[in-house]
């Protein structure tokens, strides 16, 4: 895995065979002072985001806002249509017959929240993203099958090619690879 000094390096990637090793390795890397890293796994692992020190609580708020926007716009649309834009006398009901507006308001709330959940998740994750340096590692194709990867990124303050490689190798991975940028 000799990489020339001039080729830009994205990071160093260690490959593990089971999720326990990956979680332990991520914990050790954090304890060693590494901050800019990411872990890759073929299945969601609850402990992993804590291990790499990642917290993000934006999404539920985005979904709440999406739901509220849907709710308000659904109700206001019906209110405006029924009382101002196109007032119709239906069965002698008042123009602003709010109980009849609840079903559509409800459905609009759901639609707004669901769109916010999906689009918000994709946007926060930066997807769709066709190219990413980790895909340069041939064995990374197994990250969607049965292998677990920890990548310490070159932009980490503590990153130093030889030093970091030694650190990762001490975690007993299957192998350590340089990720070209």
């Amino acid at each position: 895995m000799a990489t020339s000094r001039h080729q830009p390096v994205y990071g160093l990637m260690a490959e593990f065979e089971d999720p326990n090793q990956l979680v332990a390795a991520a914990h050790r890397a954090r304890e060693a002072g590494y901050r800019r890293m990411d872990a890759y796994s073929p299945l969601p692992i609850e402990e992993l985001h804590e291990a790499i020190g990642f917290h993000d609580t934006k999404l539920p708020l985005i979904v709440l806002i999406g739901g509220l926007v849907g709710c308000l716009s659904g109700y206001l649309l019906q209110f405006w249509v029924s009382t101002m834009a196109y007032p119709l006398n239906v069965g002698g009901k008042p123009l602003h017959s709010w109980p009849a507006f609840i079903p559509v308001t409800f459905e609009c709330t759901i639609l707004g929240a669901a769109l916010a959940a999906v689009l918000g998740m994709l946007a926060l994750n930066g997807l769709p993203q066709p190219y990413h340096p980790v895909f340069n590692v041939a064995r990374f194709a197994l990250a969607s099958r049965n292998r677990f990867f920890l990548c310490i990124e070159a932009r980490d303050k503590k990153f130093e090619l030889a030093e970091t490689r030694r650190f990762l190798e001490a975690l007993e991975p299957r192998e350590v690879t340089v990720v070209a940028d």
């Binding site: 089971d18 999720p19 326990n20 979680v23 332990a24 991520a26 914990h27 990411d38 872990a39 890759y40 796994s41 073929p42 299945l43 969601p44 692992i45 402990e47 992993l48 985001h49 291990a51 790499i52 990642f54 993000d56 539920p60 979904v63 649309l77 019906q78 249509v81 029924s82 834009a85 196109y86 239906v90 009901k93 009849a100 079903p103 559509v104 409800f106 459905e107 609009c108 759901i110 639609l111 929240a113 669901a114 769109l115 999906v118 998740m121 994709l122 994750n125 997807l127 993203q129 066709p130 190219y131 990413h132 895909f135 990374f140 194709a141 197994l142 990250a143 969607s144 099958r145 049965n146």
Partner: protein, 468 residues
């Protein structure tokens, strides 16, 4: 999905490895790799069987029958169907409600059972969701073409137009437009989000350039990052929470199409809960109808085990009893309420010209499914398959009876009439079954029909012991 680590692998049957216990959700001995390979090979490496081609050909021919029927309808108008005053709604709305109801099991399995931490849902949720989407597509065709001028269907939506008119928001038919279109959108989102990590698996494992390109584009560049997984799980859980009230609301709104009207037999408050239960009942029947042949053909008994079939049978038994309660209350209130029209309606239903259909419905939906009380029936795959077909028929008859017998003899005897289905009524209905099966055949051929990444979470090694 945090639940799926908590499945019981301590189960003595599984731990003892003495063959398949009826309580396993996955057969013993599977690893991350074997689960991935087994499911993805159906799409990527296995040869497409002759049976698939034959099935696709048959289903596709029926879908073409649908195209012909709809084309003819567009040219001639809805007079080619048998419904006419007093029976203004017949096969079209029967089929609409039937298809929408079938879709409900998909959402129930993927959303409600997820929130209830039922890990057995994992192997059936993907194709149950696909079933939902395809069923909603079939359902949508009926009201769309019943308008007679489907090219003007967008008039149902509120948008500023030169005619200066707007939808009438006090009408349950407009609520239906919002409920069904929201349902279709949210189901599609839920399904696609669930597919993304599996599409990445297919991208990475595909041998062909076209496969890598197409699955690669659809996978959106998914790389399994822990940050992504965390937000993904949050989004998925929130979507499940959002879809749960949605699925209940959709069939409630569908039942409002009837319950808001003053027609005897429609104007009742039992409709919303009884429609929702009926929807889940027919949906689970359809999941069984599809799951039993699929697991046999593709050898997926390791993933769709007897435990799944048993659980689905139990859900059918419970929802079937709720539906039976609905029938009973309808009849009881018709008698106890003392309304002459209601009383006549139920009497006419039981003894009038459509009585054979009513009693067939009671037999299919209430009497026969009681055999599900017996464990021997619940574990007999052939019996479950037969039963699921019977319930599908029964639930179709239920909608037919509710719609047609209520309309054909209402208040004034001078306005009574009979409904008889025409060739085009049948061809449109059979055509939508063809469309549904065509889409399903394409789905099992080109997409993983079982969620691969969720199956990985059921493998024993997925459990992370908390150290440090």
């Amino acid at each position: 999905m945090p639940d799926q680590h908590a499945h019981d692998y301590e189960d003595p049957l599984a731990a003892g490895n003495i063959g398949m216990g009826s309580s396993d959700v996955i057969a013993p001995g599977h690893t991350f790799g074997s689960v991935t390979d087994k499911i993805s090979s159906i799409v990527l490496t296995q040869r497409t069987s002759i049976g698939w081609y034959l099935g696709f050909l048959t289903a596709g021919s029926l879908a073409i029958l649908l195209l012909i029927s709809l084309a003819y309808l567009s040219v001639k108008g809805i007079g080619i169907w048998g419904n006419n005053i007093p029976v203004g709604w017949a096969f079209d709305i029967t089929n609409f409600v039937w298809w929408i109801g079938i879709g409900h099991a998909g959402t129930l399995i993927s959303a409600i059972l997820l929130l209830l931490k039922q890990s057995w849902r994992t192997s059936i949720n993907r194709f149950a969701e696909a079933m939902t989407l395809f069923a909603v597509a079939c359902a949508g065709i009926f009201p769309l073409f019943h308008t007679g001028r489907p090219w003007l269907a967008y008039w149902l939506l509120p948008y500023p137009n030169t005619m200066g008119v707007w939808p009438q928001f006090r009408s349950p038919l407009v609520w239906d437009v919002f409920a069904v279109s929201t349902y279709a959108t949210v189901s599609a989102l839920f399904w696609f989000v669930g597919l993304v990590p599996d599409l990445a698996t297919l991208r990475d494992r595909s041998q062909s350039r076209a496969g890598r390109m197409i699955y690669g584009m659809l996978a959106l560049g998914w790389r399994g990052s822990a940050r992504h997984w965390y937000r993904y799980e949050t989004a998925y859980l929130l979507l499940a929470g959002i879809a749960t009230p949605l699925v209940v609301s959709v069939h409630t709104v569908v039942s409002f199409d009837f319950a808001i009207a003053i027609v005897p037999g429609w104007h009742t408050t039992i409709f919303p809960p009884y429609f929702v239960a009926g929807a889940i009942y027919s949906g689970f029947a359809m999941v069984l109808t599809l799951a039993i042949p699929i697991r046999a053909v593709y050898g997926l008994q390791d993933f769709i085990t007897l435990r799944h079939l048993q659980n689905m049978a139990k859900v059918m038994l419970v929802t079937g009893l709720i539906v039976a309660y609905g029938y009973t209350v309808e009849a009881f209130i018709a008698w106890y309420g003392g309304n002459a029209y209601e009383g006549f309606m139920i009497w006419n239903r039981m003894t009038g010209p459509y009585a054979p259909f009513y009693w067939a419905l009671i037999t299919c939906n209430v009497i026969v499914p009681q055999v599900l009380w017996f464990r021997r029936v619940r574990t007999n795959v052939a019996a479950l398959f037969m039963l699921s077909l019977i319930v599908n028929v029964g639930m179709w008859l239920e909608r037919f009876i509710i719609i047609v017998t209520s309309l054909h003899r209402d208040f004034m005897p001078s306005a009574w009439g009979l409904y008889r289905a025409t060739f085009w009524d049948y061809s449109t209905f059979i055509g939508t079954i063809g469309l549904f099966l065509t889409l399903l055949f394409l789905f099992v051929r080109f997409l993983p029909m079982i969620s691969i990444f969720e199956m990985r979470t059921l493998v024993p090694e997925a459990k992370v012991e908390h150290e440090i």
